[in-house]
């Protein structure tokens, strides 16, 4: 009798576990919250996929095989948010392959991945960020080398997206989101994160400056003194493009002036300028950095070009692509974007230094606030300084009549 009971117990346990595994897998496969399985998209069930917003490395690797783009836009989250792959100057189909906080090695691997899947690749646009080149930076935890270089999803990723609590919660969240009649704040279109236009939250803006400055102590810029190894990855991309006859466009992302001021205040400016010199030695670069009319946009809730000090909007992205591709040049401010070649580099760097002085004259309060953030960050009195920043900057806006650098 007892033996029979144990048998029943084992059978019940095994059957239940098996059925539960099958049900959960089937649910996750049907909802496909990351869009990597290729399940049919059903309105009200899984057509909107909010979880793709934070999983760019996984879903974009798989997405490449579906789109097989002729043009790719590579870069960090700045590219991810700011560059529209439907821009008329791009050879279609184009895909936004921006990744969150990558290093240059990751970009190289995704470029090679794209090339393996689409040997007919014709155009590559890369948004370069200085911090990508910190030799001490390692790939992000969600980067997996083995998922690149072939079509389809690899076994371990498949396991993760079918049999994990994360996948289950992602599916559930996707289902709930699709039942909600309001449109989501952000969606993915051809890889790009398209955000609903909205007011800029000034607190977020200043927190981004502060966070960026913390990155120099603990994050992406920590111990940044060398980029030699990173440069070899860019060199490999440049060489491959040259060998294959692929058009390559490099540009330095147009972060807000406060971002450049942070780099300046933290003593990284000479390294930054040397870095420019070295990348220009490999390939001409469009430089949107510095204190030009777009990057010096006055900080206010109604900003056109920035969502925070680091990320530019698609409006700024449009100007970037217009400048690079000589498209509707009349829409681009004259000082936005410099074509860097080795012979002209010193001239441009001096020009940026002059623009910085002008910016200081026109925006002394803002310059002081940025410096204050650095000082306060160092002494770790963050909470006290943010309200001060907000008050100061509001005051500064009222006092300054018309910022000359604004377009």
């Amino acid at each position: 009798m007892a033996k029979h009971s144990f048998r029943k117990f084992n059978n019940t346990f095994m059957t239940m576990s098996f059925l539960a595994v099958c049900t959960i897998s089937l649910f996750n496969l049907t909802i496909d919250p990351l869009g990597v399985i290729g399940s049919p998209s059903i309105a009200g069930v899984n057509a909107i996929k909010p979880k793709t917003l934070n999983n760019s490395r996984l879903f974009k690797a798989v997405d490449m095989a579906r789109i097989r783009p002729k043009s790719i836009l590579l870069g960090s989250s700045r590219t991810d948010i700011g560059l529209d792959p439907s821009h008329p100057a791009l050879i279609q189909p184009a895909y936004n392959l921006g990744l969150t906080a990558p290093n240059i090695y990751e970009l190289r691997r995704y470029f090679e991945h794209a090339l393996t899947i689409q040997p007919e690749l014709e155009q590559v646009v890369i948004g370069l960020d200085f911090q990508m080149f910190n030799d001490l930076r390692t790939p992000q935890p969600d980067f997996r080398d083995q998922r690149l270089g072939h079509v389809g999803i690899i076994g371990s990723d498949l396991l993760d997206v079918t049999l994990s609590l994360d996948a289950l919660s992602a599916s559930w969240e996707t289902l709930l989101r699709n039942r909600n009649p309001n449109l989501p704040r952000s969606v993915r279109v051809n890889g790009m994160m398209v955000r609903k236009p909205g007011e800029v939250d000034l607190r977020v803006f200043f927190e981004t400056i502060a966070r960026a400055q913390r990155q120099y102590q603990d994050g992406v810029y920590k111990g940044f003194s060398s980029y030699e190894n990173s440069l070899t990855h860019l060199e490999a991309i440049v060489e491959t493009c040259a060998d294959r006859g692929i058009q390559l466009f490099l540009f330095i992302s147009p972060a807000h002036a406060t971002e450049w001021e942070s780099i300046y205040n933290l003593g990284l400016w000479p390294l930054f300028e040397q870095w420019k010199r070295d990348i220009v030695g490999l390939h001409p670069v469009w430089d949107f950095s510095g204190y030009n009319s777009v990057t010096s946009e006055v900080i206010s809730p109604g900003m056109i070009y920035y969502t925070d000090s680091s990320h530019y909007t698609p409006s700024a992205g449009q100007l970037v692509l217009n400048r690079i591709f000589n498209h509707q040049l009349e829409s681009v401010p004259y000082d936005f974007g410099r074509y860097l070649i080795p012979e002209m580099l010193t001239f441009h760097q001096e020009a940026i230094a002059n623009e910085r002085l002008i910016w200081h004259e026109k925006q002394p309060d803002l310059a002081r606030v940025v410096a204050d953030i650095k000082r306060y960050e160092e002494t770790r009195y963050a909470e006290e300084v943010y309200p001060l920043n907000l008050a100061t900057i509001m005051q500064a806006q009222i006092v300054s009549e018309e910022p000359l650098l604004h377009p």
């Binding site: 117990f9 906080a101 994990s164 963050a382």
Partner: protein, 433 residues
């Protein structure tokens, strides 16, 4: 193979004491030499002053290329005990197959328990054990699933609160140091007890009963009791093959202390090649010695106080064990004393502002950078403390097991939750750059 042949030779020549002693010493040297090479070469080389000799040794041994064989610490001890028992003449003649199975029996190979040949080899040959047993399988499943869930759901989650603060030991404040120390104390508890349960459960599914290795150690009210409850098979091994051969407590109190210290220092070194492990072993040696002396002079504390003192000693031990260097351990322990001031997150100022009268300061995020769990971690660590002190352990739970449908439901749910927690979709969590 070498150990098996040596064991056989020892069995054959056990009447010739001189010869058998030579074989035993050779065997010990062989095993200890192997583990020393694989596990301690880099550590031992760090002691050498830079010289031609050290360069020559580096070129000879290539310490950077040494890959530690899986589970060498565990099977080395098992084989040493086998050789010593062969020398003592207390083993029968095992077949090579039985012996190999004993050493490589997968449920216990990686994380123990350190089993004695007489505990398992006879079980391999019992005919009944070759038949599938529903009862053993059911109980094995339960023990395995409980063990796996302890490891995956609790230990691995707590690990997230441990790495960051221990990597920034010098910068920790009072509360960060305490949560880090407690998180690690419980991470290790659930990790190790999880492994022990898994080994026991797997063994049981195959009808092999492995020895119990873990018995609610944090319920101990003395360090002596702690070592009877924590890694029981290691304690037994060290007692039988090191402490007692050294003379144990038979040669007076001072020799007992010396023997205890030697045993625990070596026990510490066995856990890993580093000064922190040796210091941890030494610390436990000192605690055990004090405990024995207290007992000897008849000094007793109330039970609750004894538990608290023991638990504090265990936590201090784990901080030394986990820290990346002795300096780091010192920093964390110093911060834990609160002498440098007690800093609490500013957002709790409203709740317990009266504490400011007692010199407790409140600071604002991000000043508490190494407090990854926040208030949540304090609540969870408190619950876990109650758990490890008051709740029954796996063995006690199994006693209550009846093959009822709700047990299978509970177990199925736990198994599912654990399985789903084993893989994860790694997200990019903060949105910057």
């Amino acid at each position: 193979m070498v150990n098996y042949l040596l064991g056989n030779r020892l069995h054959e020549v056990r009447c010739n004491q001189r010869l058998s002693r030579i074989f035993l010493y050779f065997g010990l040297l062989f095993n200890i030499g192997l583990i020393a090479y694989y596990k301690y070469t880099v550590f031992l080389m760090s002691w050498l002053p830079p010289s031609k000799l050290s360069v020559w040794i580096t070129q000879l041994l290539h310490p950077d290329n040494i890959i530690l064989p899986l589970a060498i610490s565990f099977y080395t001890f098992q084989q040493i005990s086998y050789l010593v028992d062969a020398y003592r003449g207390v083993i029968p003649n095992y077949s090579l197959l039985d012996y190999s199975l004993f050493v490589l029996f997968f449920p216990q190979l990686i994380a123990g328990p350190i089993v004695h040949h007489y505990e398992v080899i006879p079980q391999f040959n019992r005919l009944r054990n070759l038949l599938f047993c529903q009862k053993n399988f059911a109980i094995g499943c339960i023990v395995f699933v409980i063990g796996l869930s302890k490891k995956v759901l609790i230990a691995d989650s707590l690990a997230g609160w441990v790495t960051l603060p221990f990597n920034h030991a010098a910068e920790l404040s009072f509360i960060e140091a305490w949560t880090a120390a407690l998180s690690y104390t419980y991470q290790l508890y659930f990790d190790f007890s999880g492994y022990c349960d898994m080994a026991l459960g797997l063994g049981l599914m195959l009808n092999v009963k492995l020895p119990i290795n873990f018995n609610s150690p944090y319920k101990s009210t003395s360090i002596v009791e702690f070592w009877r409850r924590w890694h029981i098979t290691l304690s037994n091994f060290l007692r039988d093959y090191l402490y007692i051969p050294l003379g144990g407590n038979r040669l007076g109190e001072s020799r007992r202390v010396i023997n205890l210290m030697i045993t625990m220092l070596l026990g510490g070194l066995w856990h890993g090649a580093g000064w922190t492990y040796i210091a941890w072993g030494g610390f436990h040696g000192v605690c055990l010695s004090i405990n024995h002396i207290w007992k000897k002079v008849g000094f007793y504390l109330p039970k609750q106080i004894s538990w608290l003192v023991t638990f504090l000693a265990v936590i201090i031990g784990w901080v030394i064990f986990r820290a990346q260097s002795l300096g780091d351990a010192g920093h964390i322990l110093w911060a834990m004393t609160g002498i440098e001031g007690i800093l609490l997150p500013g957002k709790y100022r409203g709740l317990v502002s009266n504490l400011e009268m007692f010199g407790i300061r409140f600071n604002n995020f991000p000043s508490l950078d190494y407090f990854p769990g926040g208030l949540e971690s304090i609540v969870i660590l408190f619950i876990v403390t109650l758990w490890v002190v008051f709740l029954p352990n796996t063995q006690e739970l199994i006693q209550k097991f009846k093959p009822r449908w709700w047990w299978s439901l509970l177990l199925g749910f736990l198994a599912m939750l654990t399985l789903l927690s084993m893989s994860r979709v790694t997200e990019f969590l903060y949105f910057q750059f």
